[in-house]
Symmetry: C2
């Protein structure tokens, strides 16, 4: 499909984690952006820029953006998508009770088929929030990847390997299956957490990462208890331990990163790791508030994730952006401590870098067409004093007019175009949790 | 207008701040709810219940809710609506700098006409979030009230009297003007804050409240500095001071209530006052986190407000509900410390009680028809494990299908029915702030 957007405001990623807006056109050819420029382009410059010689490209669609905003899709840099079945089922419990009493016994009953449908429910919600790719950790990575490929969504899978499920060999197999399945699917080495994984398994993960030249990702220092127990076991923090095992030769990072010590910040700096913050989940499970300002001040890369729908309970990057910003402000008791641009960068380019999706990080020629359109003609986006601040501080799912992944429009004006009827997906989700009640 | 909703899930307010759902019909006649019951009602029972003898009422509209949820509209229990012009204009500053350097100089330039248009922009945003009434403090209460009455929105105005503007006499005049303007508009005595108001003025407010038998409302203990400076000036807290001046003979309460001391909780209990929490604004201005659990444990009534769009920056009760809940959890480091039902009660009935709108607090026969319809056929509302938790933890503006105030549908499927074109309102808002740049 060749799609031309015109009369658009286009968010451009600038230096030092800032943004600016250009008014004009954006052209998509196949899965890529082939032109970003002014409205005044003639058919000839259009044709030249689109690389189709003297002929103007044949447009399958020309979309009048009517002054609305085109921007890179959000990257949900940490989630467990298929946990949609547990949304609003088990809530209001601390992390360990929630996991042991509510989550694990029901997850044990999930089939691969269940996980397929539950993934699609999550993907639908991502699309409503302008999320164009997820960094997902859950059972059956090839199934998760297939659900993404089938609906046209982009996913980066990692392993949730721990003492109770999975092996290093299976992870290696999944690595190849998922990376080869589709242009939309990829796999990066990971495991669940220090507190669920033996040292022998962790050593196996480190070796695999070195063999595959892969970064490594893991839940890291989510709760105070997790860090205290790790120090009791090993005398060092989860970051120190995983680093000492040789995990991070090819980078990677941690999910949550709430209870960090000086040594942990140093390791993240030295190894060029990324901290993914999950503010809504950290609040809801009463885990704590991530030291975002210190990560930023230390030049450590950051990205933002929703965590799974059982602990959040929604998959909404607007809420996560607002929380990432304002929790930093209240944690430091300093309303100036972080800018809206920095937050928007984390939610777009920051996530893309963490997920090795650098070709999806911005709207520029040659980048993949992972694009969303934001309706600026809603009252929460008016007046247009500062569009970036409007996005971070007052944006909402309601503003997402369109979500395009890899050049294909998957969601537009509240309608899904993913090859499945939404009622069928809801029926599956209700049936799956219904079986377990 | 007589409007019949059928095939609806209907949220019913039960005892002890809980809710339950009934499936059936809800009938609106004029400005009121005349029937809530099962779908199976015949034309005869319909007629009897609607009080029109043997004839079935003539329906102006029959709306198939298609299994979606009808619930009481949200009450935004503290805001400064017309501050829409400053949204995303001045951000990332601490409260005092933000007020003195950015807000006050621009507010000084506002005309009554400006405030009228800026109110309507805020009202539009309320409708998109399912908010059916606001408790508003801003310049020109009669103008704010007129903007509400003209659009069909319900408002409770209070005074922002302080040393720099207003008099007790003017407040008394506004009290009568606004209370008499429309069924949709009312006025309760209030003033800006201890730190902006002389003792003489506060004494005048107390006398007026006693004369009018009105509750009194005020910004109370929003920042740590505010409380410290009050104690320096008077040796007591803002709550102790206002109480000692005889403010609360007819009740009332405080906005924000972040930095409360033991004596303040005792006064709120003794005087039966309500604490309105404004979590997004308190985070964004780095003011602190309200001790919600202690208010609830002490049996003190609570309500929720967005505060103004310059400090939040959006007017979204879903975000406020999530924050009220989860900030309590992380403040206490206890994920069990407050239930979703309690939060939803604050956002609906709690606000109604604070605003003296007890006839708008729930969906029951004889209550005013301030009703919203929530689209449950969106992925963030599936599966339907628990509708109240879905609302509080994963609800979004995107789920608001319809907002009805006083029996009139003002917003439906993203279209406004308020007597103004939205582009005209946006043009006014951009022009007003444009003049001040």
């Amino acid at each position: 499909m060749n799609i031309r957007f015109y009369n658009a405001k286009i968010l451009q990623t600038a230096e030092n984690h800032t943004f600016h807006i250009v008014e004009g056109e954006l052209w998509v050819k196949g899965d890529s952006i082939v032109y970003v420029g002014e409205n005044s382009a003639t058919a000839e410059t259009a044709a030249e820029n689109a690389g189709s010689g003297k002929e103007a490209p044949a447009w399958d669609r020309e979309i009048d953006a009517a002054g609305n905003l085109l921007m890179p899709g959000f990257k949900n840099a940490h989630t467990h998508t298929a946990m949609t079945f547990l949304r609003s089922y088990a809530d209001d419990l601390p992390l360990q009770d929630w996991l042991n009493q509510q989550v694990f016994p029901r997850e044990g009953q999930l089939t691969e088929d269940d996980v397929y449908w539950l993934n699609i429910l999550g993907i639908m919600e991502y699309l409503t929030s302008g999320i164009t790719s997820n960094f997902d950790m859950y059972f059956f990575p090839p199934v998760n990847a297939k659900a993404s490929a089938d609906t046209g969504f982009r996913t980066v899978q990692t392993s949730g390997l721990n003492n109770y499920g999975g092996t290093v060999e299976l992870m290696e197999e999944n690595y190849h299956i998922v990376n080869e399945l589709s242009d939309l699917t990829s796999f990066i080495v990971g495991f669940h957490a220090e507190y669920t994984t033996s040292k022998e398994l962790m050593e196996g993960v480190a070796k695999l990462a070195q063999k595959l030249k892969s970064p490594v990702w893991v839940h890291n220092s989510e709760t105070k208890l997790e860090v205290a127990e790790c120090k009791e076991r090993w005398g060092i923090t989860p970051t120190q331990l995983t680093d000492s095992l040789g995990m991070y030769e090819y980078g990677g990072g941690g999910y949550h990163c709430v209870w960090f010590e000086d040594s942990d910040f140093e390791i993240f700096q030295k190894r060029n790791l990324t901290a993914v913050t999950n503010p809504a989940s950290n609040l809801k499970l009463a885990s704590g508030i991530c030291p975002v300002k210190r990560f930023v001040d230390n030049g450590i890369s950051m990205a933002i994730g929703t965590d799974g729908p059982a602990s959040n309970n929604c998959l909404d990057m607007f809420r996560e952006m607002f929380l990432t910003s304002t929790l930093a402000k209240v944690r430091e008791m300093d309303a100036e401590c972080i800018s809206a641009d920095e937050i928007l960068y984390m939610a777009t380019a920051g996530g893309a870098h963490a997920m090795l999706l650098d070709d999806c990080d911005s709207l520029a020629e040659g980048k993949k067409a992972d694009i969303i359109m934001i309706d600026l003609q809603q009252p929460n986006m008016q007046p247009e004093n500062n569009i970036v601040k409007n996005l971070v501080y007052s944006g909402s799912k309601q503003n997402v007019k369109m979500t395009m992944v890899n050049g294909k429009i998957l969601y537009e004006d509240n309608q899904f175009n993913i090859g499945f009827d939404k009622k069928e997906i809801y029926r599956h989700a209700n049936e799956i949790i219904g079986r377990m009640k």
